[in-house]
Assembly symmetry: C2
Homo-oligomer: 148 residues x 2
């Protein structure tokens, strides 16, 4: 088995092809990582969520990391790691065009609406269903490929 670096373009191609990734943020020196769905366009990963721990942490510290992979098995996989910067797209006139773009991009994958806005029962109470749209600017990217 050999692990090699992927080219910049091959790494971006993986982002464009995949929808499920893992998003890491940090508060102080404590990291936090969760799965998320996204759509890549022009050096940004677009997504949305209801308010919760990850949104609150990214609002306070916009430095994030995203990992996206394609795992066949432990011997054959590709993995791309993005260091990025969180930017919220609020429902205000200043952000309307970016927000409209994000909505139109994400609407191409209609099934996503349901998970992120699913009825969420946590600690016995329902979470508000207001969607927060955001994008992660790709600041750095690297990819590795394992082959037999």
């Amino acid at each position: 088995m050999l692990i090699t670096e992927m080219s910049h373009q091959a790494s971006l191609d993986l982002l464009a092809r995949k929808r499920l990734g893992r998003l890491a943020c940090a508060q102080g020196s404590q990291p936090y990582v969760v799965p998320f769905y996204f759509a890549y366009y022009d050096c940004s990963l677009y997504s949305f969520s209801t308010v919760g721990k990850k949104i609150e942490w990214m609002r306070a510290n916009p430095l994030v990391c995203v990992e996206v992979d394609d795992v066949v098995d432990s011997h054959e996989w590709t993995s791309v790691v993005v260091s990025g910067c969180y930017e919220e797209l609020p429902d205000t006139p200043r952000w309307q065009s970016e927000r409209d773009f994000a909505v139109s991009l994400l609407q191409q994958y209609a099934m996503w609406w349901e998970p992120a806005l699913a009825k969420t029962l946590l600690h016995g109470t329902e979470r508000p269903l207001v969607p927060i749209f955001y994008r992660i600017h790709v600041v750095g990217i690297s990819g590795r490929r394992a082959t037999l």
Copy 2:
């Protein structure tokens, strides 16, 4: 679709059943997340790696986060998030019994040896193949399940 909290035991059961997770660490306020293989035993996740960015970062800041999931599709999944603490198991007399235990546990999954110790060509140079054994103590755990 409904998202609910998993019980503590159900969350631990997922850790015990799965081998592939995503491990997040942080340097300053910059998080970093990569896929990794692990074996769960008695409130710890055991793994090993060659020296690289994640080992260096975890040595400097042992606070980590691990995400493990079982995704059928965007409507049916379980995801467990562990906040944890990194502990290295060096090849010294003080750590020999813990290290021997880690090796015996991980040897049950012999195929893992190959990926973590694969010939890695990065920036045109080979990386040293000395294995670093470590465990992540589970400090906190939470799990969510999405069902239709």
